[in-house]
Amino acid sequence: MSQVTMTVNGKEMSGDAEGRTLLSQFLRETLGLTGTHVGCDTSQCGACVVHVDGVAVKSCTMLAMEAEGASVDTIEGQAAQDGTLNALQQAFQDHHGLQCGFCTPGMIMSAADLLKSNPNPTEAEVRHHLEGNICRCTGYHNIVKAIMAASGQDVSSIAAE
C-alpha cells in the first residue's frame, strides 16, 4: 500500500492504494464517489469514464497510481454546488436520455469530452464518439438527441418527440 493523492472535482484527496488498485476502484471504494460505475471488465462499456487532466479515460483501465498528482473530474462534480444540473445533464433529463441510469455517468463524461472539442457535432459525430459507451436501455435515440440539444442545436425535427 502507498498513498495516492489527486485533485478530484477540484478538491485534493488522498488514500491508500495497492499497485493493482484501479482508478475506478479508488474513486468508488476509497473516496466513496460511487457515481462512477463499472459495467464490464474488458474496457468496452464506458460506464466508468472520467476525465483525467481534462481527457476522457476509462477509469477501470487505469491504475490509481497512474493518476497520482492528476486532476480528476467525475460525475459528482458536474452539477453546480447548489445541485443545479449543467447544460448537458439538463439536456439528458429534458430529452429522456437515460432510463436505469447506470451507463449515464459515463455517457455524460464522454459527451462532455466531445462537446469540448466539437461544440456543434453532427448526428454521425455524436454516434461515432459514443463508440466506447454502451447503453442497454435507450436504444441511444434520446442520448444522441440530448447531446445535440445540449450543443444548442434544434432537435425538434428528430422523429418521435
Binding site: 481527457v55 464522454s110 464518439h129
Partner: protein
C-alpha cells in the same frame, strides 16, 4: 488482478533499469494489458509505466523526412498530430474508442502485436523502423507471429520512424464486439513500390500481401487487383467470420484502400 509493484520513471535509462527486475513488464497505456491482468492471465511482478518519460512523447519529422513518433505517444495524439502522414493519422483515429485512444500508445500496441490490432499493419506497410532503447529494428524483421515480436525481455520501444509514402490509406472492417479489426488493410505507395499489410486475418498475425504489392507496384489502381484475394489457408476462422470470408475481405479492403489513397491526400 494479482498484485504488483508500480514504478513511473522519467527517463528511458531508469525505465530500463526498473525493467531489470524479474517478471517486470512495461506499461504503456494499459488498454490491453490491464484487461488481461484483470482476467489473471498475466502476473508481472512490477509494472513500469512509460507515461512519465518526456523523451518518448510526441511527433516530429526526421532529417530524412520520416515521421518520428515517440513510443509513449497516444493514439489520440497521433490522430491529431500526424497530419504529415494522413493514412497513419486515420489509422490512429479509428483505434478503439475515444477513451481508449486517450490512453493507448503506439509503443504498447506494437509491443503487444495483437493479431487484430491496427498499428502493426501501419508499421509494416510503411516499412517503419522500430527504435528501442537498444537498437533499431526494421518492421519486416519485427513482427514474428501473433503476440510475438523481435523485442527482447525488458526492451522498450522508444520511437517508431515512419517513411511517409506518396499515397496511403488504412481500411478497417470492425469485428462488431471488440471493435478491433476483423480485417484491416494498410496500403502505402512509395516511389519505389507499393506495400500492403494486412491485420486481423492471418493466424500468423500481420503480414504483407506480396501478390497485391506486385500488381499495385505496376499499376496503382483498384483495377489492378480486381477479383484478387489471398488464399484462405492460414486465415483465422471464428465466430465472426470464416477463413474464406476473411480472405475475401482482404481483397475488398485492399481495393478500397487503393481507391481511397488515390482520392485523398497522403
Amino acid at each position: 488482478m494479482y498484485n504488483f509493484d508500480f514504478e513511473k520513471p522519467s527517463t528511458i535509462a531508469d525505465a530500463v533499469s526498473a525493467l531489470g527486475t524479474e517478471d517486470a513488464q512495461a506499461l504503456g497505456g494499459g488498454q490491453t494489458l490491464l484487461p488481461t491482468m484483470k482476467q489473471r492471465l498475466a502476473s508481472p511482478s512490477k509494472l513500469v509505466s512509460l507515461k512519465g518519460i518526456a523523451e518518448m512523447q510526441g511527433i516530429c519529422t526526421g532529417d530524412d523526412g520520416a515521421l518520428c513518433i515517440g513510443g509513449a505517444t497516444t493514439h489520440a495524439d497521433v490522430a491529431a498530430g500526424a497530419g504529415a502522414y494522413a493514412g497513419l493519422a486515420g489509422l490512429a483515429a479509428g483505434i478503439g474508442d475515444p477513451a481508449v485512444r486517450a490512453r493507448g500508445t503506439i509503443g504498447g500496441s506494437l509491443a503487444n502485436n495483437d493479431p487484430a490490432a491496427c498499428y502493426p499493419a501501419g508499421a509494416l506497410a510503411s516499412g517503419a523502423t522500430i527504435v528501442t532503447n537498444a537498437r533499431e529494428i526494421a518492421a519486416d524483421d519485427y513482427f514474428q507471429g501473433m503476440f510475438t515480436t523481435a523485442l527482447d525481455e525488458g526492451e522498450i520501444i522508444t520511437e517508431v520512424r515512419f517513411p511517409v509514402p506518396e499515397a496511403s490509406n488504412y481500411q478497417k472492417f470492425e469485428q462488431p464486439a471488440s471493435r478491433f479489426a476483423l480485417v484491416g488493410v494498410f496500403v502505402a505507395k512509395f516511389a519505389d513500390g507499393v506495400r500492403v499489410a494486412v491485420t486481423g486475418a492471418s493466424e500468423d498475425g500481420v503480414f504483407r500481401w506480396s501478390e497485391a504489392e506486385a500488381a499495385l507496384s505496376g499499376n496503382f489502381s483498384a483495377d489492378a487487383i480486381v477479383d484478387m484475394a489471398p488464399g484462405a489457408d492460414g486465415m483465422i476462422s471464428d465466430l465472426h467470420g470464416t477463413a474464406a470470408y476473411r480472405a475475401h475481405l482482404v481483397g475488398v479492403l485492399t481495393r478500397r484502400a487503393v481507391a481511397a489513397a488515390l482520392s485523398l491526400p497522403t
